[in-house]
Symmetry: C2
Subunit: 383 residues, 2 copies
């Protein structure tokens, strides 16, 4: 992907953007604006640029009607618009929604329009569009590798590997470029090579990947499209252990992330969202004296919460989170961003003190990720 | 915003993109690529386009060093790069991270570069950038209104208001355009007018907004930037009622959404994530016979879960979610996407049967939104 343009819902500007992109590239992909309402103008711009009329496709109309019938919803009349499509185009099936993808080939260049709703767009990109790109690439391949890390900041990670990834130190052919992609949930390293010597490209990228992995060690939790909750799930499954959560400031986020994984019921029993102090006592057996003496945001409380949830739910591992997510509720002694994350197994409990920042969503995300990483490290025998 | 271009981390292409944008517009905003690592090339492209050198700004270096010190992290040497900035530029403070924003004015046109990390970008856009746009707009104003709906699909909503929003039926001056913005969490209507007659624009948009609101009635949950969990929270506060959740297939997502709201501890006690049947019995007192006779995904189980969580947690209102999120686990009788959402208050319980689709994330999101909307409707006395 070399160039991406985004414009508003104005037909003239969109038509101009399509024209410029068709000059610039051999393949152009447009997303969005294929819905039934009058602000969905992509089809009109396509017809204008390619000088083709919209015609009604009966077979597509029948599919749309069938979809509504299956959902048990009466089809609003305007959804008929979605069967009005440019003459002579090729259509791409939509498994999720009622807007089909549109493709038009002209002068050896390919134009594709697909819906903007991510859940509809993604299968089309990964299926039909990817297949077309492969067909048309003329032997030039791009190879990616993704290394996913957690628990280390971008610049520290960079310093660990800077000498390895310097393009000046690489051979001239099939050089690997490396991008750092930071988010609150960790930093990804993306290795890329574009070459017409696929074999050499693969070899170079694998050699570099191996060296990088050696340097980043315990911070690496996965390669490719794997997520931290997947990794934790696989470890739990292979150790035949069950997990339960006790959440205060994250309010359910940790459980949500664990159950993002289909099949998580194999190892995740459930948890307790103990937002109030009363519930910490009632459901997790945190002693009142602990709350009075140390407060709910304390190492001691996190420890009791993790132990309490093992007891209450009968799990092998319990994790707990208690902290001040903010933006309010901080004090000098216990500022916003102070979070305790606990991990308990029968007979052994540890608690990590974290000092994040002022941002509520950030603090909650990082708390949940820290809890998952503690489970990962425990199961993988790290530290 | 008329035109947006996205390019990869290639200096030449980025420089070209800046050049084209500066031709096209009076103000250009670039985001991203201001980090310390060698794939962060925006500054280099700026220097190339504006023909200025990078120089070290001591005052900015001191601020970056101070930030690391406060976080208790040793500053990696490469973060010094972030004090190397184009000569003669104006800088925009970053409250969250170490990359400052950069602004350069030339030939009456303004170029601005800000970090791409959303939490750092947003305050700069809402503060400095918005102020500059206002200063430079020459009396032309754009007025937006956002109406947020839940529980109705885009095309059905469109049909309710189609005649009202037809631009042909509006007066020539200060016409209102309406966009429909659907997501799994509901459909937003965005009303927009751009005019140099601010008074007329405001009047027109308010009149149309009033008419639209009349038509969409109970589906409207808020105006402007308010979210459904905020609305539910305000209603709970004003009724002085407390809420607890019992989640199965959503695994904590509903609690997470409720606690996205700062201050939710005023009305949210907590909840139980009962992912396994054992926990539905143990923590929520769902009778074993109910699970055997009707299964965990049933109207009856949802009903017991909502009642059980009121009992266990001592809340005024309990909501429950049990369903088959998918992609596996469906049967002919109980397909993926079948979800029961329950709401209980002492002496009264209702359960809604939902049939969503095949997509796990979508099903979980829509389940949680349905639960929130049931609480909203209950408290607002709708239906």
């Amino acid at each position: 992907m070399k160039w991406r343009t985004t414009v508003g819902d104005e037909q003239e500007i969109l038509t101009e953007a399509i024209a410029k992109a068709m000059q610039r590239a051999d393949m152009v992909i447009a997303t969005g604006g294929l819905g039934p309402t009058n602000d969905d103008i992509t089809k009109k711009a396509i017809c204008r640029y390619f000088k083709r009329p919209l015609i009604l496709y009966d077979n597509i109309l029948k599919k749309i009607e069938k979809r509504f019938k299956q959902r048990g919803i009466e089809m609003p009349a305007i959804n008929q618009n979605q069967a009005l499509l440019p003459q002579g185009a090729t259509f791409i099936d939509n498994e999720i929604g009622s807007a089909v993808g549109i493709s038009i080939e002209e002068d050896g260049k390919l134009f594709v329009a697909i819906p903007g709703v991510p859940s509809e767009m993604k299968p089309m990109i990964e299926g039909w569009v990817t297949d077309e790109i492969k067909k048309r690439s003329g032997g030039v391949v791009t190879i990616h590798r993704k290394l996913r890390t957690v628990g280390i900041i971008e610049s520290a990670l960079y310093e660990k590997v800077a000498d390895l990834i310097d393009p000046k130190k690489q051979k001239r052919e099939a050089k690997i470029s490396v991008a750092f992609l930071p988010s609150w949930r960790g930093v990804d390293l993306r290795l890329t090579v574009t070459t017409n010597n696929e074999e050499l490209g693969k070899k170079n990228i694998e050699v570099l990947e191996g060296k990088v992995i050696e340097r980043i060690g315990k911070y690496l939790y996965g390669r490719g499209e794997v997520n931290l909750p997947d990794v934790v799930g696989e470890l739990l499954k292979s150790e035949r252990m069950t997990l339960a959560v006790a959440e205060s400031c994250t309010g359910g986020l940790l459980g949500k992330m664990i159950t993002d994984v289909s099949g998580s019921s194999d190892y995740f029993l459930g948890g307790v969202i103990a937002y109030s102090n009363e519930l910490k006592m009632k459901l997790l057996s945190v002693p009142q004296i602990i709350l009075e003496k140390y407060g709910a945001v304390s190492k001691e409380c996190a420890s009791y919460m993790a132990e309490g949830v093992i007891q209450a739910l009968g799990a092998n591992i319990g994790v707990s989170i208690t902290g001040i997510a903010g933006p309010t509720g901080g004090t000098e002694e216990k500022p916003v961003g102070l979070v305790y994350v606990g991990l308990a197994v029968p007979g052994d409990t540890k608690v990590k003190e974290c000092r994040f920042g002022d941002h509520r969503e950030n603090n909650r995300d990082r708390s949940a990720v820290t809890a998952l990483d503690m489970v990962r490290r425990y199961l993988a025998g790290i530290e």
